[in-house]
Amino acid sequence: MIAMRRPHPYLPWIGQALLAAAWLVLAPTASADDAAAWLDRAADAAQKQNYVGTIAYQHGGRFETSRLVHLNDQGREYEKLVNLDGPAREVIRMNGEVRCYFPDTKIVRVEPRTFRNAFPSLSPQQQAALTDFYTFRMAGRERVAGIETQAWVFEPKDGLRYGHKFWADPSSGLLVKARIFDERNETVEQFAFTEIAIGAKIDREQVKPTWPVTPPDWKVRQSAPSEDAKDTGWTVMRPPPGFVKIVDGYRRLRDAREVAHLVYSDGLVAVSVFIEPIATAAHPFGVSRQGGINVFVRQQDDNLVTVLGEVPIATVRQIAHSVARR
């Protein structure tokens, strides 16, 4: 098991009520609770609603569309994402496992654990961080994918975070559009449904993988968290304010290399830090970008440090330069 800091597991409703009561007394502003409650509702809708639609993904100069189907069948979640342009890609989430299919190179990547099994709900510290570092506000009502949505904005208070705007279906709470923007209000990345049927009747067939059995000539690549709980001994000396460590453990990559993996989150986004012994082959150092994710790679003694997350370049860079042995 990956060693993990779990400040608070998802609490039953009594616990939540007590927490809410505590916040009425302790919270610096009422909106700290609003922001967390809003996120809870969006997460709950993403998990429980059945929906099918076409999603447009825009980042940099690129624009691509995909088909997304989500089914919650008696508490079990099934999700299928198939892209509609370019080389075929398929992502299947089923029984707590994520599989990504790359038919052109005959590769399937398997992530045995999923976010929902692993990610703790927001700690009070993180709930406070949300409004310490973002201004959370209701924006206008806008029509998206034929739905009269309610828009909400998380505006960063410092330059270490991006801004986030979400458009939610008012009746279900489901997000139908999400936009990340920089300090000039330029879009960094955007996901938007162009059409969606929320509450649709979804058949199990619709969420089945195209390749239910991996063909024998395909390569299966796993990057599971390591089974042994080990202290990595690594830390980020000066994480940006509001970022709290939520994961500290080893991860086994495809060629059985063990890589230290730390995750820091401010409640809205996360930054991953990977540390591994440097290989002899040349590595691309410096900055790169993958949609809304910025990546910074540097060498530290005999180790390769890779930092990535949904934050500006300056933030991944600052974190990368702050990685040290405890």
């Binding site: 996120l39 997460a43 993403a46 999603i55 993904y57 825009q58 980042h59 940099g60 100069g61 997304l68 370019g86 890609r89 992502v91 994520v98 990504c100 790359f102 190179t105 590769i107 399937v108 990547r109 992530e111 654990r113 976010f115 692993a118 990610f119 979400f166 997000l175 999400a178 000039r184 330029e186 879009t187 990345e189 955007q190 996901f191 690549r221 939520i246 991860r251 990559l253 495809r254 995750v263 989150s265 986004v269 996360a270 991953s272 990977f274 040349a282 691309p284 150092f285 790169s288 993958q290 949609g291 809304g292 994710i293 990546v295 790679v297 540097r298 890779t306 990535l308 997350g309 330069h321």
Partner: protein, 165 residues
């Protein structure tokens, strides 16, 4: 001074310290150290160093290359406001600085420079979409709160570029 230049290259300097180091780079001795450290770094990383006369050849090629400073109107209509519409025709990443300055001189709009800069950032990132392993992107996605509220949609970040290797 050498140490300050080395730290500057590592990104360890900020504010006044960084400014002082930049001033050193304007002196020929400081610039020589900077060049030397970069060649050492390239050799250590085995990324190869430019051959003799690279700078003059590069300057000559740059001078002979046409630079289009107006948006390309024959492009396919792009969704929303895309920075790439500002097609600064620089084909080499290093041209970015030169062309940005040229744009800012010809176009008084304050946003032009910013847009041109962004266009260059995106362009230069494209030739190496695989700079980060999909292992890392997928592992990160599992813990990103965006997955919690947006489902598997954000996994497109990990699968849309690259071929899974």
């Amino acid at each position: 001074m050498r140490e300050q230049i080395s730290r500057l290259m590592d990104g360890d300097l900020e504010g006044a310290e960084a400014e002082a180091a930049f001033r050193e780079l304007k002196q020929s001795e400081g610039f020589e150290h900077w060049t030397c450290y970069h060649i050492i770094g390239d050799c250590l990383r085995r990324t190869g160093a430019p051959t003799a006369g690279f700078s003059s050849r590069f300057a000559a090629r740059l001078a002979s290359e046409a630079t289009i400073l107006a948006p390309n109107t024959t492009q396919k209509p792009q969704p929303a406001r895309l920075p790439l519409a500002w097609a600064v025709a620089a084909t080499v990443a290093a041209v970015a600085v030169v062309s940005s300055v040229a744009v800012s001189m010809l176009d008084p709009q304050p946003t032009a420079l910013a847009k041109a800069r962004e266009a260059n950032v995106i362009r230069t990132a494209q030739p190496r979409p695989q700079a980060v392993s999909p292992d890392y992107l997928l592992a990160h996605q599992e813990y990103s709160p965006t997955t919690l509220i947006q489902g598997v949609g954000p996994y497109l970040r990990a699968v849309s570029a690259g071929d899974g290797r």
